[in-house]
């Protein structure tokens, strides 16, 4: 029972989602500057849209030329597919966290197994070197165990073209045990919709220094602070 609950927490499935959503509302996390806040019909999730500087910068980069290759690791979402493909780009999408939990499960032994991690990365990020012009990583990096995180970032560096932009997010609470899990939808070139879907336990908590260290191979790391306890980060390959 406890194991199942913990698994759901890690997977981000709604765990007392209505309560979680209300907690978010009461904590003011859902954005004081949010343009709109909506509760779903079932009352299990809330969503709000807000301006995103990181998205604006990412969109500015990919709008320059059509026919780019964009990777989205946050799972396929209609809004994101529409946004990317309407710009004339080819989208490569997959739900990296879902694949991770399906293949490596919640067993610490498998997640720490170098060989298993290498196989997982090979199966899920099997692209030619210097292939992508942009990558939407969202907030998944903070939910990966250390070994997989290192391998993943290293592979992202390899498959990104020089000048490739990575859009990623990290929660700003440095001590929080549980953080709100979001599904991210691109509404326009500078508007992002965040749909809360329960709470998740991050594997690692990052501050600015640790984020810079994580992407030390890359050319630059730019932070954008937001009012909803998220750090938006644009990483330049």
């Amino acid at each position: 029972m406890l194991k199942e609950r913990l698994r759901r927490l890690i997977l981000g499935r709604p765990v007392g989602s209505a309560q979680a959503a209300e907690e978010l509302v009461s904590a003011g996390i859902e954005g004081k500057h949010a343009s709109q806040t909506q509760k779903s019909e079932d009352g299990l999730s809330t969503s709000y849209a807000r301006h995103s500087h990181a998205l604006e910068q990412f969109a500015c980069h990919i709008r320059a030329n059509p026919g780019l290759s964009i990777l989205d690791l946050g799972g396929v979402r209609q809004a994101n597919v529409t946004f990317i493909t309407e710009l004339g780009h080819k989208l490569y999408a997959q739900d990296f966290l879902r694949s991770f939990s399906e293949m490596l499960g919640d067993s610490g032994d498998r997640q720490d197994d170098q060989q298993q991690v290498a196989i997982f990365v090979e199966q899920n990020l099997n692209f030619p070197d210097a292939f992508f012009d942009g990558m939407l990583i969202w907030d998944l990096l903070e939910f990966l165990p250390p070994l997989l995180l290192k391998e993943t970032v290293s592979r992202l560096f390899r498959i990104g073209k020089p000048g490739c932009h990575l859009l990623t997010l990290f929660h700003a609470e440095e001590r929080s045990a549980l953080v709100p899990a979001y599904a991210y939808r691109i509404l326009s070139q500078d508007q992002l919709s965040l749909i809360s879907c329960g709470l998740r336990q991050p594997v690692q908590v990052f501050n600015n220094r640790s984020i810079e260290k994580l992407f030390q191979q890359f050319q630059s790391v730019k932070f954008f602070l937001t009012r909803d306890q998220l750090r938006e980060v644009i990483v330049l390959r």
Binding site: V76, R77, V81, T85, K90, Y92, A93, D95, N124, A183
Partner: protein, 183 residues
């Protein structure tokens, strides 16, 4: 008391001989289905591969097809719709006009018009289509390439005469080949 009526029912009733009009009516087959007069009302035929069917090989269909079983091979429905039902498991390259996925598909899909991926679907493969609809909760791993009608038109090769030469044109050779006399 209660059986009185049943006894009455059991008694044979005198049957009136059929009239000539009724006899004539009997010869005409009557369908229990609603009749469809206009061409637009005719329901589109739809072939079905049921849950317990497993097919290995090539499927070519000239009508809409629903797969709720297992298929391993290739599927081609030029101008028709393919529906992978909730129990469908397909490991195949797919070509169709429309594709609706509710089950599991491993393979590349090329749809001339639209691909509809429902929330319970699981799709691993590359997609090439003009339009796509994806419900939240669907699992997808692969690439999405939207081929717009303008793009396909642009790809149509122009006649050679209209094409502007990029470099100084060499002397144009006649297209008709002539036999060369051996000296």
């Amino acid at each position: 008391m209660w059986n009185k009526r049943r006894e009455e029912d059991l008694k044979p009733r005198p049957v009136a001989p059929p009239t000539s009009a009724e006899l004539a009516k009997e010869g005409i087959p009557i369908s229990t289905f609603a009749t469809k007069n206009s061409e637009t009302d005719i329901p589109r035929s739809n072939a079905l591969i049921g849950k317990s069917v497993l097919i290995k090989g090539q499927i070519y269909s000239r009508e809409d097809l629903t797969i709720d079983g297992e298929v391993d091979g290739t599927i081609e429905l030029q101008e028709h719709r393919l529906t992978i039902g909730p129990h469908g498991k397909v490991q195949a390259g797919i070509r169709a006009r429309d594709v609706v996925i509710m089950g599991t598909v491993h393979g590349n899909i090329e749809a001339a018009d639209k691909i509809d991926i429902r929330k319970e679907a699981k799709l691993v493969g590359d997609i090439k289509t003009a339009r796509i609809v994806i419900e939240d909760g669907a699992y997808f791993k692969g690439s999405i390439d939207i081929s717009r009608p303008e793009a396909t038109k642009a790809q149509v090769p122009k006649p050679q005469a209209a094409a502007a030469p990029a470099s100084p044109a060499p002397q144009q050779q006649p297209l008709v080949s002539r036999p060369v006399e051996a000296k």
